[in-house]
């Protein structure tokens, strides 16, 4: 049996998205910037895709900027917000300790440029920030706030709507990295009240290498890439039409199916959490309720995550871990450390992420295979 439980890393492309992309590859060869009919056909496809994305997020098409993915969208939103603040003499940037590296590394780079970066801590049990901490961190010097909507490792959902209301009160723009959230939980930019939002096509069964930066009308975007008038002068480069059209088809499908699909995915998630919780000395990371419908993240004491991952892989199960060995450094995941977990516990983490294609039989198989592997590794561990 070959089972894919790593949907937070990437998702398989849906039939709908694949068909939409093939149609472009076969029938729409033009460049949307060209004035001739070939070009205008491509421009129409681009406009239609933009409308679909706008509809899915609850904004206007003019507020949608296509990017190469979530990381680019995060980079551009944060740099834009920081530089706009700097023009007004503001240099404080506020974020959280559990952001994706696309956010954290951009903040590091801005810190080197002279900005002050404040990372809000999260609650050890829920993995959720405190709004009071945000309120306290918002000084008159604050240029920009960025808070992820849902965490990629532990699935915890942040109170972004409430955070945006607080930011608005202080006159500070806010961005949210919604890469893991869109297509999995309801996301409406007007309802959230954010000024900018990032998403990535391949997290909801669209293609890789394409994403969206939503920027509210009036939010000043600084281009990261120069060289053309595409995306209303905010992002140069010939548009990835097959990717964009595929992503638009995928977002329309995913957002449209949230209410149908998620209860079943949530039920499978909760079954996994329930059964794994019965194992000795393990803990669920992240909030049991305020978490992504498809995310399970456990730490198992006495074993190391990479071994767990590879033994699962040998049984045909693809999952993920935040151990140091899988991150390529001596330190385990910054998200798990931000929960206050000691290194030795954080090394034993396992992330299982589901999708609409996950079946009960696959969950049965996981629950049959995983406990003996945990026991086997603990059996050979000198610290168990």
């Amino acid at each position: 049996m070959r089972v894919y439980f790593d949907n937070a890393a990437t998702t398989p492309v849906s039939e709908t998205a694949k068909k939409a992309m093939l149609r472009i590859l076969e029938d729409v060869p033009g460049n949307p910037s060209s004035l001739h009919t070939f070009g205008q056909e491509a421009a129409r496809e681009l406009a239609l895709a933009r409308e679909k994305c706008a509809l899915a997020l609850g904004c206007t098409p003019k507020e949608i900027y296509f990017t190469s993915g979530g990381s680019e969208a995060d980079n551009q939103a944060i740099r834009s917000g920081a530089y706009a603040g700097a023009k007004k003499g503001k240099h404080r940037l506020i974020s959280t300790a559990i952001e994706h590296h696309a956010v954290l590394h951009t903040l590091d780079a801005l810190k080197a440029e002279g900005f002050e970066v404040v990372l809000l801590p999260v609650d050890p049990d829920s993995g959720i920030i405190s709004l009071q901490d945000l309120e306290n961190a918002l000084t008159p010097d604050t240029a920009f706030v960025t808070i992820m909507l849902a965490n990629n490792e532990i699935g915890s959902i942040q109170p972004v709507k409430e955070a945006a209301a607080i930011c608005k009160k202080h006159g500070v723009p806010i961005h949210t990295d919604a890469v893991q959230a869109v297509g999995h939980i309801a996301v409406n930019v007007k309802d959230l009240g954010v000024d900018a939002l990032s998403l990535s096509g391949h997290k909801f069964h669209g293609p890789k290498g394409v994403g969206v930066l939503y920027a509210k009308t009036g939010f000043p975007l600084t281009p990261l890439i120069q060289g053309g008038t595409q995306e209303r002068n905010r992002r140069a480069g010939t548009e990835n039409i097959p990717g964009i059209v595929g992503m638009a088809a995928a977002i329309e499908e995913a957002v449209g199916e949230i209410e149908n699909e998620m209860p079943h995915i949530c039920a499978m998630r909760d079954r996994i959490i329930h059964e794994l919780s019965a194992l000795d000395k393990c803990r669920l990371n992240g909030d049991p309720v305020l978490r992504l419908p498809n995310n399970v993240n456990f730490c198992f004491e006495g074993l190391e995550g990479e071994s767990l991952l590879l033994l699962l892989d040998a049984k045909g199960i693809a999952a993920s871990s935040g151990s140091a060995c899988t991150s390529g450094s001596l330190d385990p995941s910054h998200v798990l450390l931000a929960l206050g977990l000691p290194h030795e516990i954080a090394h034993g983490s396992l992330r299982i992420t589901l999708s609409r294609y996950t079946t009960e039989e696959e969950v049965d198989y996981l629950l049959e295979v995983l406990p003996p592997i945990v026991a086997q590794l603990r059996e050979m561990s000198p610290v168990w």
Binding site: G302, E304, T326, G328, H343, H347, P382
Partner: protein
């Protein structure tokens, strides 16, 4: 980070040899620490200068388990002098190589074997040249062996 393990590493990881403990061992050595993500413990049975049995317990990644397995295979049945000559490089080579970021696991295996032999000497009142085990105690933090990537 992405890397591929050799078939031999995967074989020794999935079917590790010599896993377990020895009751009343003649020598025991433990190196590494849980904070860094790997601990290796080696147990020895010594009869007339020969390592007649070797077992290990390891907390760590696939390469930590594979190097423990290979290192114990390489010294089992051998005279102590030969086991003392075991190098991390030889263990890694016997596994057809390790990814650069995992070379520290082979160092851990060499050190665990040496610690166990030192423990055997210490507990059996056998005199030895301290230079044989120089630097062993400070190897816990093997951060300098990790390659940046």
């Amino acid at each position: 980070m992405a890397f591929a393990y050799t078939e031999k590493v995967m074989d020794h990881f999935i079917n590790p040899r010599n896993v377990g403990e020895i009751d009343n061992p003649d020598g025991v050595g433990e190196v590494g620490n849980a904070k860094c993500g790997d601990i290796m413990k080696v147990f020895l049975r010594v009869e007339e200068g020969i390592l007649t049995d070797v077992k290990f317990k390891t907390f760590g990644c696939a390469s930590a388990i594979a190097t423990s397995s290979m290192a114990t295979e390489m010294i089992k049945g051998k005279p102590i002098a030969e086991a003392l000559a075991l190098t991390n490089k030889a263990v890694a080579e016997a596994l057809d190589g390790l990814p650069p970021v995992k070379m520290h696991c082979s160092v851990l295996a060499e050190d665990a074997v040496k610690m166990a032999i030192k423990n055997y000497y210490d507990t059996h009142g056998i005199n030895y040249d301290a230079a044989l085990f120089a630097g062993l105690e400070e190897e816990d933090d093997h951060g300098d062996l990790i390659m940046e990537d």
